[in-house]
């Protein structure tokens, strides 16, 4: 009797631990269990240690972040072994990985995730184009296809297209992750997903998020957070695959690849595939589906170019070009809010005050508080974006952090110094895609102020025009 209870309680303990640790790859420090219990679990091979830094013939590999650059490894005298050891400097902000400390992963049985009969509580309907894409995604998931790229124009309703596939997997009791390089995108996705799947526990992980555990069945995370996972998910959806830093940092692709189970599907979502993906698509190595039309069936706003000869001079004095003020006054719909993109944080900060004063003088806005600035280093970024969304701010100056993934109902978009190198083709297409997103105001103006056309601008406009053409607009 007593023994039965003991066995039962141990079973419960193991099940609980499985839910907490399965699919993760952690340092001993990150496993909050006391030493005695932990040792027992290792001996009974519930946890399995694995080398944290591998030495190859020509390079070292950090098994957590996939770093192979020699300069990002360094030696440290280890206090417990009295020897010099390698450690990885690339992922040091997540806790130091040292050669003598193994990484642990769970090798007990897998936790039983709940099966939901009809998890999706979203009541809207998909447009025929969305439905076509959604069916293709479900098919890919059912057939265990490795990869599928969904190329949908900005504002096509990508998130909704995912619902059928997610519901399908949740009904089978599988684990799902939506990963994206941008924190703002995660913050925007969490409430939408929670609304669409009311009964499913969803956790959002990003640096500074309230939930840090990451033990739910359905996880929305920045790609950085996936560095702590290993073969955890039955479906990984990467939103905005072409965004910084995902396309430039190989360790993130490494993390995402490792976080999914070997036989499962990855779905990539993007509006502006990079050359790498386009080459693979056109050579038929990467299956894809194209959604050429927005869900409210109006064409994408095509950017206008405006040449400003004195732009550099104006920017130096951190003022917008006079043409910008002129455009403000002659907009077709002065009710719309304005999203103003600038190339650098410094310019954004400086322009904040000067433009505020100028616009109050010109009587374009009532008080300076109606103009705000956000950038990556801004602490109140979330709040300000929320204020802009609720229309408490008229004009928002921003750097490229708001170029993608965020939706504002009715805005006009302006870019100052569009010739700057941060505005590449993808960025410009995405920026143009911020306008006219809601069905109640499906158009919007997009204007690029520049002092010399760049290839990026031309390609961006070409891309938008050709997407409109493929969507059936002339």
């Amino acid at each position: 009797m007593n023994r039965n209870l003991l066995v039962q309680s141990q079973g419960n303990l193991i099940a609980e631990l499985a839910a907490r640790f399965s699919g993760k790859l952690l340092l001993r420090r990150e496993i909050p269990l006391d030493e005695k219990l932990f040792q027992r679990l290792v001996n009974q091979s519930y946890f399995t240690p694995t080398l944290s830094i591998k030495r190859n013939k020509f390079h070292y590999i950090c098994e957590r972040c996939g770093n192979r650059k020699r300069r990002l490894f360094a030696n440290i005298p280890c206090n417990s072994c009295k020897k010099d050891h390698l450690y990885c400097r690339k992922c040091i902000d997540m806790g130091r990985v040292m050669e003598c400390e193994p990484l642990y992963y769970w090798t007990g049985h897998e936790p039983k995730w709940k099966k939901y009969k009809s998890p999706c509580s979203w009541t809207g309907t998909l447009t025929p184009e969305q439905k076509r894409a959604a069916n293709r995604i479900v098919q890919a998931v059912k057939n265990d296809e490795r990869e599928l790229l969904v190329w949908a124009v900005t504002g096509a309703g990508k998130t909704e297209m995912l619902f059928p596939a997610i519901s399908h997997l949740l009904a089978l009791g599988k684990r799902i992750c939506i990963a994206t390089p941008r924190t703002d995108v995660v913050r925007e996705l969490i409430p939408r997903m929670k609304q669409a799947f009311i009964h499913v526990p969803i956790q959002g992980l990003y640096s500074g998020s309230p939930d840090m555990e990451g033990t739910a069945q359905f996880i929305i995370a920045t790609t950085h957070q996936l560095l702590r996972y290993q073969s955890a998910f039955d479906l990984i959806i990467i939103d905005e695959i072409d965004a910084f830093p995902f396309h430039s940092d190989p360790s993130l692709a490494f993390a995402v690849h490792r976080a999914k189970k070997s036989a499962s599907t990855s779905i990539y979502l993007t509006a502006t595939p990079r050359k790498k993906q386009r080459v693979r698509m056109y050579s038929k190595k990467l299956p894809h589906i194209f959604v050429p039309i927005r869900f409210h069936r109006t064409p994408l706003p095509v950017p206008r170019l405006k040449m400003c000869f004195q732009l550099k001079k104006n920017v130096k004095r951190s003022l917008p070009p006079p043409a910008f003020i002129h455009w403000l006054k002659t907009r077709s719909n002065p009710e719309r809010q304005i999203l103003l993109f600038v190339p650098t944080i410094l310019l954004a900060q400086k322009m904040d005050q000067k433009l505020g004063e100028l616009l109050v003088k010109e009587k374009m806005i009532r008080r300076e508080g109606l103009l705000e600035t956000v950038h990556a280093a801004d602490q109140d970024r979330e709040e300000k974006i929320q204020l802009f969304r609720s229309q408490n701010i008229q004009i928002l100056i921003t750097t490229t952090i708001l170029e993608r993934g965020v939706t504002f109902p009715s805005v006009d978009v302006a870019v100052i110094d569009a010739g700057h190198t941060v505005f590449d083709e993808a960025a410009l297409v995405q920026i143009a895609g911020r306008a006219g997103r809601s069905p109640s105001d499906p158009t919007g103006e997009v204007i690029f102020f520049h002092d010399g056309k760049t290839e990026a601008m031309e390609h961006a406009i070409e891309a938008i025009v050709s997407m409109n053409k493929r969507g059936g607009f002339r």
Binding site: R71, A74, N75, I76, P77, Y87, I92, R96, M98
Partner: protein, 228 residues
């Protein structure tokens, strides 16, 4: 060469002066180097903090003078201000344990030492502020020891420390009221330069200085990387 902080490319400047030595190896790129602010202008002759007017010592040091009849520290010399970038660097270096980052401070630490303590005779010894054994297990290395090892009179070990709460987690008042955590292991009869990473209130350094003075050390100086 790559910057140890931002991993950006940094190319050492080449001119006639350093043509044959091929330029010094740089550890930080220009941008990161400029983000760190060296203490310049008028500084407190006691604790190295930045002073605006033509004062000689700051109010904090006056209080120390009042508290002890004679301040156990002769003076403290620090190199950097504790600005935002420095805070970030210290977090990664000390708390996250990025040992390699200390090489960013090596050159300036050695040079300033030579300029500041040249007046002392060669019979001086360098002592780093020790960590308790618990803390060293947690962190893996002692940042003060790393800094002291760069200096020319070889670092010697005379004091040890018992475990206490982290200084950085306490308020100023609590810090000033802490007990002396240090113990002497050997007697010293030479002047001593104490090396630490940060001088905040000066409590820790003065604890060590008191202990040394009580046991027959003629004079105690302090040399720290940062004055916060």
């Amino acid at each position: 060469m790559y910057c140890v902080w931002c991993d950006g490319l940094c190319i050492p400047e080449m001119n006639w002066e350093n043509l044959w030595s091929m330029g010094r190896t740089k550890t930080l790129c220009n941008q990161c180097e400029n983000a760190l602010k060296v203490i310049e202008g008028n500084r407190c002759k006691k604790c190295s903090c930045q002073l605006k007017e033509k004062q000689y010592i700051c109010s904090d040091c006056m209080q120390w003078e009042q508290r002890f009849k004679q301040d156990p520290l002769k003076f403290n010399y620090s190199i950097f201000n504790y600005n935002e970038r420095m805070q970030d660097m210290v977090t990664r270096w000390k708390y996250r344990g990025d040992y390699h980052l200390s090489c960013a401070f090596e050159q300036i630490f050695i040079e300033t030492f030579k300029n500041t303590f040249a007046f002392l005779s060669k019979k001086v010894c360098v002592i780093s502020i020790p960590l308790s054994s618990e803390r060293i297990l947690e962190r893996g290395f002692n940042q003060a020891k790393v800094l002291a090892d760069y200096l020319i009179p070889k670092r010697e070990e005379f004091i040890t420390r018992v475990y206490s709460e982290k200084q950085s987690k306490k308020t100023r008042k609590e810090r000033l009221a802490t007990k002396n955590p240090f113990f002497l292991t050997k007697k010293v009869n030479k002047p001593v330069i104490l090396v630490d990473d940060i001088y905040t209130t000066g409590r820790t350094l003065r604890h060590a200085a008191e202990l040394l003075l009580e046991n027959g050390c003629p004079a105690v100086y302090a040399y720290t990387l940062i004055r916060s």
